[in-house]
């Protein structure tokens, strides 16, 4: 797996979307086999403006504006990846990836195995998920878990601009199919992005804050909210450690286990449904690995178990907030 190849020199704050664009730009520059395919990624620059300017720079053969046909978009990427290209698919949102689920699960994830290891599928599928924009039931999913389920896929969810760029570069260079899960609510987040060519490893969680009372593991945007909650809990004399899961498959158990063995308490948070969710997997794994160290049951938090409602008050009530995280942490530490 790729590692950081260069230490950050000067600091430079950039938007998450710009960091992603830089990664695409640089990887297309450095490797002719990288091409982009997706809906409205050409003149339109992508529904979330990640691919802006790339059509002009690399031309219509390498920035392919596709018909609305997710199955052929992903299928085309798989076929061309088998022949050595490195396609980067943009699906407009994770919701529409369901249309291509068969291609992803029955084909991308299994081709290598079914070929006895003779073939590889070095492709990336980028797509945002998440709710909070009053887009209602069919446009608000957080479906990390349905990709996390599948052996043969690497599944990552970067939450900072630095990770967005570094992990996208690693994903493009990886010889495995990578599900690269962005978040609609993070595109406008600003953060330091090291200049130049660097990669951030896939498959690694990140410690965002050290603490001694409780470990909060956050998935995708919930890692950001967990961090906020932890900062606020300081005033209540609760010292929370925050781990950003970053990699949904594989799960980087080591830092999680180390942390929970230290704190003795664990809260896991995701935006999607927690029943059978990513948090269910983490909670089970922590219980198995840290049973003797736990001072309280592992608790998890997810979104309300409904198709996301359009009504603003109902939607707000259906998505976990940092307030909800704080409440659960208080309960777990006995405050």
């Amino acid at each position: 797996m790729a590692t950081r190849t260069q230490a950050p020199a000067a600091t430079d704050e950039k938007l998450y979307r710009v960091a992603l664009r830089e990664a695409l730009n640089e990887e297309m520059e450095r490797d002719d086999s990288v091409y982009l395919i997706g809906e409205d990624i050409g003149k339109f620059g992508g529904a979330y403006r990640v691919t802006e300017g790339l059509l002009d720079r690399f031309g219509a053969q390498r920035v392919v504006d596709a018909p609305i046909a997710e199955e052929v978009i992903v299928g085309c990427a798989i076929g061309s990846a088998m022949l050595g290209l490195r396609p980067v698919v943009e699906l407009m949102t994770i919701n529409f990836s369901l249309v291509a689920y068969d291609q992803i699960v029955n084909n991308a994830a299994k081709i290598r195995y079914m070929f006895g290891g003779e073939a590889k599928v070095p492709m990336v599928i980028r797509m945002p998920g998440g709710a909070g924009h009053q887009l209602s039931a069919q446009h608000s999913h957080s479906l990390e878990v349905i990709y996390g389920l599948i052996p043969g896929l690497l599944v990552v969810a970067p939450t900072t601009p630095e990770d967005a760029k570094g992990m996208l570069k690693s994903a493009i260079r990886s010889d495995n199919p990578v599900m690269f899960l962005e978040s609609m609510s993070l595109y406008n987040v600003r953060g330091i992005v090291p200049p130049g060519d660097y990669t951030t490893p896939l498959g690694k969680a990140a410690l965002r804050r050290s603490g001694s009372d409780v470990t909060i593991v956050g998935v995708s945007r919930m890692a950001v909210l967990a961090h906020e909650a932890a900062k606020q809990l300081e005033e209540e004399d609760v010292d929370a450690e925050v781990i950003d899961l970053r990699s949904i498959r594989p799960i980087d158990w080591e830092p999680i286990v180390e942390s929970v063995r230290k704190t003795g308490r664990c809260v896991v948070v995701e935006e999607g449904w927690s029943t059978y969710g990513v948090t269910a997997e983490i909670a089970a794994g922590v219980s198995e690995r840290c049973f003797d160290y736990l001072d309280a049951p592992v608790r998890r938090l997810g979104g309300a178990q409904v198709p996301m409602p359009y009504s603003l008050p109902l939607e707000k009530a259906s998505i976990p907030t940092s307030e909800n995280i704080k409440q659960l942490v208080r309960a777990v530490v006995g405050k």
């Binding site: 809906e39 409205d40 050409g42 003149k43 339109f44 620059g45 529904a47 504006d65 596709a66 018909p67 609305i68 046909a69 997710e70 199955e71 919701n95 529409f96 369901l98 249309v99 924009h133 009053q134 887009l135 209602s136 039931a137 069919q138 446009h139 927690s274 029943t275 998890r300 997810g302 309300a304 178990q305 409904v306 198709p307 409602p309 359009y310 009504s311 603003l312 008050p313 109902l314 009530a317 259906s318």
Partner: protein, 337 residues
């Protein structure tokens, strides 16, 4: 502008009613854009430019027929009986919203059970197989109903389009497929979507009749749709209609079409306003005076504005009801961990 030869498909009164429906749709559409600018509504997917075929196709249905509309289908829904106040209740996600009780996004969903409007899916083309299913049930039950299924050109690239139309053709189901072909899928022009821009040509491959019509020409559109509905009702199976229209606005309020369309092209699209065209036709026949048509529009514009102000004041759904309707029997089963 060309005059049509299909004047006899509907009566003067019916055509005047179609004109009023189109004006209602425009009034709501214009008001939606204002509400979005004012920050009172989150989003609008405009039906401007599509009203001609939308009104004509839906007017060809009977009260017991089903509509499975494109997500742009505001004018279709108005023909079915959606009122301005009801629409605004949906926009403001109020408890009394008869479309989805504030749960589903308006402009993506015209689900209205009492009006036989099936929930649209906002996942492009995924409502097409469902329309075939409704038509299949109608055939099985023998209730004589016809299903009108509408969608954009973009939807025809999906497998769901093929699967839905093919199944309907095999079983000769009572369904009419109408493609509102505005030659764009958001920013992707038709030449990047399909090698043959005439969707109706595909009908032959399914073994069903196809027809191409100018969807801004109301009498011509009505005649073609009427014939297709009659065929479906007689048990002669589905028809695939390709209605050429011009998208007058951006895809939705979320984008600016100047990014991918020239000013000239946009100006040309506004020359293909179906309302303007229909009014000219009505005026030419002396069925309406231009001033009268303008007065009708003004009246609906005021009504749309009042409906918005009224709806905004109505009660929101109660948070404690958030979990209702997930499962049958009114109670959420297994709703918590």
């Amino acid at each position: 502008m060309a005059t049509t030869t299909h004047t006899d498909a509907a009566t003067r009164e019916q055509y005047l009613q179609m004109h009023r429906w189109m004006c209602m749709a425009k009034a709501l559409d214009d008001r939606m854009h204002i509400l979005v600018k004012q920050g009172r509504a989150p989003f609008v997917g405009s039906s401007r430019g599509h009203e001609g075929i939308q009104v004509a196709s839906t007017a060809a249905l009977g009260a017991d027929d089903w509509l499975v509309p494109h997500y742009r289908g505001l004018a279709n829904s108005i023909v079915r009986g959606l009122t301005m106040k009801e629409w605004m209740l949906a926009v403001f996600a109020k408890a009394a919203d008869p479309l989805s009780a504030g749960r589903n996004i308006p402009g993506g969903c015209f689900s209205y059970h009492a009006l036989k409007i099936a929930p649209v899916s906002q996942v492009v083309a995924s409502w097409i197989p469902k329309a075939s299913g409704i038509a299949y049930a109608a055939k099985l039950v023998g209730d004589g109903s016809v299903t009108l299924c509408t969608f954009g050109d973009g939807a025809t690239s999906q497998g769901d389009f093929h699967e839905g139309v093919n199944f309907a053709a095999v079983h000769r189901l009572p369904v009419v497929f109408v493609c509102e072909n505005n030659s764009y899928a958001i920013s992707v022009p038709i030449r990047l979507q399909m090698a043959n821009p005439d969707v109706a040509d595909r009908a032959a491959g399914y073994g069903i009749p196809g027809a191409t019509v100018d969807g801004t020409d109301v009498p011509a559109s009505y005649a073609v749709c009427r014939e297709a509905v009659d065929r479906a009702r007689k048990g002669e199976g589905p028809t695939l209609i390709d209605a050429k229209v011009w998208r007058m606005n951006s895809h939705t309020s979320e984008d600016n079409h100047l990014k991918y369309r020239t000013k000239e092209e946009i100006a040309d699209a506004s020359e293909h306003d179906p309302i303007m065209r229909f009014v000219a036709w009505l005026v030419e026949r002396r069925w309406i005076a231009a001033e009268e048509a303008a007065k009708i529009q003004d009246g609906f514009d005021r009504e749309a504005s009042d409906a918005a102000d009224w709806a905004e004041q109505q009660p929101d759904p109660a948070p404690e009801d958030a979990l209702t309707n997930v499962f049958a029997a009114g109670r959420a089963q297994g709703a918590s961990v």
